[in-house]
Amino acid sequence: MANTVIGSSIVIDGEISGDEDLVIQGTVKGKISLRESLFVEGSGVVEADIETQNVEIAGRVTGNIQASDKVELKADCRVVGDVKAPRILIADGASFKGNVDMDVKER
């Protein structure tokens, strides 16, 4: 599995883009755009706008999140920013501040 992992001592200031899963254990500032899943683990800190298919957050995220499929805020995560996705899950224990837009297409 061609997984990309940003280790816990890594700090990236800039832009990340790609077509594969990304696991963040370190710090990323800037912008993230993926066509697959993003996992922000417990030690991960993201200060970036995120554009992906799926996001699972267990760490800290500051920024707007836009997912084409699903956003999952796990217990113990801290998220500040707007979330826009067709499916949004917020687990018990998660801390979240921002707008939620499930993009309900009214027909």
Partner: protein, 204 residues
Amino acid sequence: MAAKDLVASGNTVIGPSILISGKLTGDEDLTVRGRVEGELSLTKTLIVEPSGVVKANVTVKNAVVSGVVVGNIQASESVELTHEGRMVGDIRAPRVIIVDGASFRGRVDMGELPPGRTLPERSTPRTQLRPTVRSLPPPPPRPATAAARPGATGATATASAAARKPGGMPGIVRTEARTPPPAPPTPPVVAAGAKKKVVLKKRK
């Protein structure tokens, strides 16, 4: 490949389809299979795998390049270009290893060589060569004393020149006889570069 993945697990891996542009810093090993552009500084080892492309100024402890690097690498320990490695840029590290098959364009700076290793050996041939170079120019003082009989000095000059390069025209040979002295200073430099590489092979 699977073994490589296991070794790399737990460390940071930039997958083949990932592009990072900006500044990347860290205190752990980093394996690049995708692209990194901008600035990269680590306190540990950077591994650029064959699929990896780094267009950045790199500051690390160790670097192993099997992919492509465009930019300067400054390493506190070593830089290794493997047989698949391709690099354009300057390398600055105490140990630089370039193996057969690697392609590289740029400067290499290994800093000050450790004392008592190759430096004395290299400096002695230089000092030996320089006197021989300077022993040829002294002729200018001689003409002052030999000015009384210029024909004799001219004869010796052409004789020595003819001994060096037979078949040349005497008038030009005389100038050629004086032009060779500037040439010797370059061989020591070439020899120095050659010795540097020999040292590298010994270290391996």
